[in-house]
């Protein structure tokens, strides 16, 4: 049980259940859980300390940002932050400040960008995130919620028009609004990991309890973002995973009609060749010939620095892509 809880990011849930007496443990089992939980929370505190330092540096540079996932959900959605753990710090950065944020994280905070951009300028225009290692910890600077076509149709400016205050130590930071947080949890559940992690389903169930807008507004936002298929899939996964009783609230969303085009885009996330099918599907949602060309060039002919970081050559990259896609076909 402990192993499953760690794989599915449910260590906090197990600790909460043990603390409440909802899950009975033998003394030695409780000791084992206590140690694992303490270790995960020590990691969380170290991450939060890094977050406070990053927030200060970004604040000095006038970079607005939103705290995502672990640190945000722990403080805003969970009854006690100790019941949520995380591996890294995730921040959402406005596209036009993305390069500046990466520069601060690397130059000022001593971080190392783990994977170079596909081509210069790609991350701020099309990318999902840039991973920066600062000391022993990972800082994920997100431009959007997910990679691939559904990440490219989100109205990113809208995410910065609203916010929720989070207090971490003596700093006031900001997370997404409750509605956007719910939608982000839908994107994470539906598209984040395949198969879905139970921890993501738990996050979504808890985000539902904090939701301050009705589902009509959520569906309207999802339509605006061309992400109805994402919300529908997330709701169905909640029902399938948590059962019809716990997931009863999600029946309305699971019954949403999904257009054929969105169903096709969704399939690009659910195939073993998704690291190649998602970029191809992305071409269908990018507006403008020039933008499409920039995207395609980056995908098919990445920069030498990017290829080197993956241990690939131009030829091996092309061969690998074609092989994977052919296997998918």
């Amino acid at each position: 049980v402990l192993e499953i809880s760690m794989q599915d990011r449910l260590l906090g849930a197990l600790a909460e259940a043990a603390s409440d007496g909802a899950f009975c443990l033998l003394p030695e089992q409780r000791d084992q859980l206590t140690e694992q939980h303490a270790g995960s929370q020590a990691h969380m505190l170290r991450l939060e300390r890094m977050l406070v330092g990053v927030a200060e540096a970004f604040g000095d540079a006038g970079i607005d940002f939103r705290v995502l996932k672990g640190a945000s959900l722990a403080h805003l959605v969970y009854s006690d932050p100790a019941w949520r753990n995380a591996a890294d710090v995730d921040l959402l950065i406005p596209s036009d400040r993305f390069d500046a944020a990466v520069r601060i994280a690397t130059d000022q905070l001593g971080g190392e960008q783990l994977i170079p951009q596909l081509r210069p300028g790609f991350d701020r225009e099309f990318g999902k995130e840039s991973l920066v290692r600062i000391g022993k910890f990972e800082l994920d600077l997100h431009r959007t919620f997910v990679t691939g076509p559904f990440g490219l149709t989100i109205d990113l400016d809208e995410l910065f028009r609203q916010r929720t205050e989070i207090t971490i130590g003596d700093r006031q930071l900001f997370g997404l609004s409750a509605g956007h947080r719910f939608l982000h949890a839908c994107y994470d559940t539906a598209l984040g990991d395949y198969p879905v992690r139970l921890g993501s389903v738990r996050d979504l169930l808890l985000c539902r309890t904090q939701l301050d807008v009705d589902f009509d507004q959520i569906v309207a936002m999802a339509r605006h973002w061309r992400g109805v298929a994402v919300v529908q899939r997330a709701a169905q996964l909640v029902i399938d995973t948590a059962g019809p009783d716990a997931g009863a609230d999600f029946a309305e969303l699971a019954a949403l009609d999904v257009s054929r085009s969105q169903a096709w885009l969704l399939r690009s996330y659910l195939t073993p060749a998704r690291s190649y099918s998602r970029p191809l599907a992305s071409l269908a949602v990018i507006s403008g010939c020039r933008a499409r060309w920039r995207y395609a060039r980056a995908i098919f002919a990445p920069s030498p620095a990017y290829l080197r970081s993956r241990g690939w050559t131009e030829r091996s990259h092309l061969r690998r892509s074609l092989r994977r896609l052919a296997r998918r076909g």
């Binding site: 600790a15 859980l33 303490a38 020590a42 505190l45 170290r46 300390r49 100790a82 130590g169 003596d170």
Partner: protein, 100 residues
């Protein structure tokens, strides 16, 4: 402790201290601490008491009543935890007590 936090000096948790409740105590990471410090259940009770400003003497008094032990024993139990928190910046002097 007696020198730094005399009977009329109020102390409280530092607002900069990060902390988590554990299954068997509390974990605290303050700005001057290189690593989080873990304290078992008595530490958690002490940390909860420090949510509001109080004097060290009040902590000792409350502790001795709570656990039905002498003030001398209570002081001996509390002092090392308290010193570790003060040294790490997790507990700081508040304002002077208006009642003293």
């Amino acid at each position: 402790v007696v020198e730094r936090f005399a009977a009329d000096v109020l102390v409280e948790r530092s607002s900069a201290a990060l902390w988590r409740r554990l299954l068997d105590g509390v974990l605290v990471l303050a700005p001057e601490m290189p690593e989080p410090l873990r304290f078992s259940t008595p530490g958690e009770v002490l940390w909860a008491m420090l949510d509001q400003p109080c004097t060290f003497a009040e902590l000792v008094d409350a502790w001795s009543v709570l656990y039905e032990i002498s003030e001398r024993t209570a002081r001996a139990v509390i002092e090392p935890v308290f010193v570790a928190w003060c040294d790490g910046g997790a507990v700081v002097a508040a304002r002077r007590s208006p009642y003293m």
